[in-house]
Symmetry: C2
């Protein structure tokens, strides 16, 4: 009965909430190509590796401390730890850890990190319900599709406005996935989406704090709880997403409804998921890739006299730190990134420690890098010439770095990344077994053995 | 490292997050007038009554069904039920029930319903920590102040845009209150506010569904969890509320920073809280009040020939249903409202049942009401002339209805309302004891006896 001013809004939106609910509830199991299904497994494996890798991080410890105050029952596992907590809290914590290193996956068109908000609720729920691995993968594909299509609908306006799009679309993706896993019908799925639509999470101002990874964690928990509420008959508006005072029009000035409906059930957004090979900003990746290629050709750090690195000006603007002092600084140094690539052939979380940033050979090598901004080089590219002691030159041009959509990480690359994350937490042998379990999850009777295998 | 477009935003906001954190952490216990402290007790009592009253509603049952799936420990009470669940879930469910009848409290300047998001987390937390009643009331005053000042800062733009302002500001009020109850210092309180700032809840499209009362419930849970996370060292941006890509500028085009700082610690927004006497839209209240006054003068329904009711046109636009068919319809009928006032002298939730809406004497009386729209009458007023069988006329003009800021409900009125809500759930004797416990809560050793007293 409060004031009822008109909003400048589209009252003629198509029934998005109902369309998505129908899709999520009714699309057939494995109703997509083998390539899509394989990408779902890659998405899952990469997510597990990231979560295990950050399981001992102080964010995880702080979040678990809060969760422990709820005296949670041992329902669902925290990946990479022996802790088990209630499923909503497990969704929260695994969502946090999987994004803690900013090293997870990216749907480049929207900069959404798709897996965290979707997989975190799903695995926690599947561990309780005993759902099959097939059901988990089906729900993952559909949840990521809902999340990224909603992102496509609103990006870039929604993101530019200040929303951390991973958390603000992730509640809907998580709700869709958990509704599917619970086998909710169309009506109950619509309620789950509707309840989630009232809970967008995340402002970009939080970048650089623990609340950034809280966003996918909070979204995972909200999505799971929305599905549980709907299952129990809790109602929401049937137009919660699209109505003039519904989710989309409240949080975005751009609402391209056709992004929801175009080729729905035919084109799956998980196909466009990418995985970071290096634990730093994406603009440094071409330089690290170039250095790794030089290393593979036999170039040795001790033979290097000078490195001529040509990159887009934005690269130096964002990551131009010449003398990084610690691990976090290192992530903002293209110089350090190049040194890592040549010295280690990799740049995972373990290469961004304070110790390595300060190591003599690393410091010496990165000081030999002369970086030049060059408008003719694209942001996704790098042009590197190494001048060696014997006067010889080696040149590499990286058009698209490893990990891009054009040059995706191979399955073996993903496994290498997984080991870099998981070995320090659960050891190499367990990591091997866990990798194998991830690849086979689509055929697994349930997810419980996999969860057990992620304990240290 | 994603695109970094500028936003049209105010980079020169004062440090709101820090200012509020300092205020919440350091303002002295009972650092306000007796009138403010009494209003806090009225706010608390009214909130308990609303929550107890809706304890058996289907929304409560559905929400509890979801919560039960988390196998919660018996930490905190659900008011009006014998259930006990983890404190975060108790905050959720009590927040839902207290707003289920739309019969709680209103900060008229912002249309925020202040108690739900703040008291629900507080009571659940206090039950676990053993906090004193004084600490609870202190935290309630401060939490409501944060919530309503943030509302003042953004209203009406934020509300007009489509946010259900109770949920979207309530997370911050709830976080502030719980941080205070946990005795967090300034830094940790700032983190609690910061984590909450990433979680605004609620779209107005949900009005008319269970997700509307979910908003204060979800806000209460988010506020409590934000405080627990902060206590455990989980960090957030120190400018989470005011930064260009922080909470306020993302969810509102109006950001009057001075609403936060003006007379902070001197003027308390809880002073401006109001309580609905009637379980229907606020625009019907003057007509019901007029009818109640006529009843008090001895006017009897059977003597009435005709009722001439003059009201602002908006009243008929919003509540012009002449022949309501059920309890919910009845809430949108000023005709029915008048009949209730004259026949019962009250219009609580129990007068809005299907049975009473269809009762013969009620139907007969409301058909005698002739309502005329009149631009000269304000929305808050009603002009009523009753023509009786003997030709006599009785006239009442209600400028401000009972329950408005100008004519607040007395403590006795609040008790009467409480009984109307609580008696059907816990019985009159227990309701009497619970009322007494609410009035005395500021001096209570802890809140546990009160929680026990709210069980059926």
């Amino acid at each position: 009965m409060a004031r009822n001013q008109p909003v400048a809004a589209d009252a003629n939106a198509p029934p998005i909430t109902r369309i998505l609910a129908k899709f999520v509830a009714n699309h057939p199991s494995r109703g997509w190509s083998d390539a899509v299904d394989h990408e779902a497994h890659r998405t899952f494996l990469n997510w597990v590796g990231c979560a295990v890798g950050a399981a001992r991080h102080e964010s995880a410890v702080a979040a678990l401390g809060a969760v422990r105050m709820l005296q949670p029952p041992a329902q669902s596992s925290i990946l990479g730890r022996s802790d088990r907590v209630d499923m909503a809290s497990a969704a929260l914590v695994n969502g946090i850890t999987s994004h803690t290193f900013d090293f997870d996956d990216t749907h480049l068109k929207t900069v959404i990190h798709p897996a965290g908000p979707v997989a975190s609720g799903l695995l926690a729920l599947a561990e309780v319900t005993g759902a099959s691995g097939r059901e988990l993968i089906d729900a993952l594909v559909l949840g990521v599709d809902v999340e990224c299509r909603i992102g496509n609908m609103m990006y870039p306006d929604h993101y530019d406005r200040g929303w951390h799009i991973t958390g603000s679309t992730g509640t809907l993706g998580g709700a869709a996935a958990c509704a599917r896993l619970l086998k909710l019908d169309e009506q109950h799925t619509a309620w789950a989406l509707g309840i989630a639509a009232s809970q967008p999470i995340g402002m970009r101002e939080q970048f650089g704090t623990m609340t950034k990874p809280f966003h996918p964690g909070g979204a995972a928990r909200a999505g799971l709880m929305s599905a549980l509420l709907a299952k129990n008959g809790f109602t929401a508006s049937p137009k919660a997403i699209e109505a003039p005072r519904g989710y989309a029009q409240v949080v975005s000035t751009k609402c391209d409804w056709n992004e929801i409906t175009d080729a729905l059930g035919q084109r799956f957004e998980i196909s466009f998921n990418t995985y970071k090979p290096f634990a730093c900003g994406i603009v440094i990746h071409p330089a690290i890739d170039a250095a790794s290629q030089l290393r593979a050709r036999g170039v040795k750090a001790e033979d290097v006299e000078r490195v001529e690195l040509k990159v887009h000006p934005l690269v130096l603007e964002l990551t131009g730190k010449k003398e990084p002092q610690d691990g976090l600084h290192g992530k903002f140094s293209v110089y350090h990134g190049f040194a890592l690539g040549l010295l280690f052939g990799r740049a995972g979380e373990t290469e961004y420690t304070d110790e390595i940033v300060r190591r003599e050979d690393v410091v010496v090598l990165r000081r030999k890098v002369v970086a030049t901004p060059d408008e003719s080089i694209r942001e996704a590219s790098a042009d590197v010439t190494v001048i060696l002691g014997n006067g010889r030159k080696e040149h590499v041009f990286v058009e698209h770095a490893i990990g891009s959509l054009e040059k995706p990480m191979s399955d073996a690359d993903l496994e290498g990344k997984f080991h870099g994350l998981a070995d320090p937490v659960i050891g190499k042998a367990k990591a091997d077994a866990l990798i194998a379990a991830c690849w086979k999850i689509g055929g697994a009777k349930d997810v419980r053995a996999l969860c057990e295998g992620a304990r240290p």
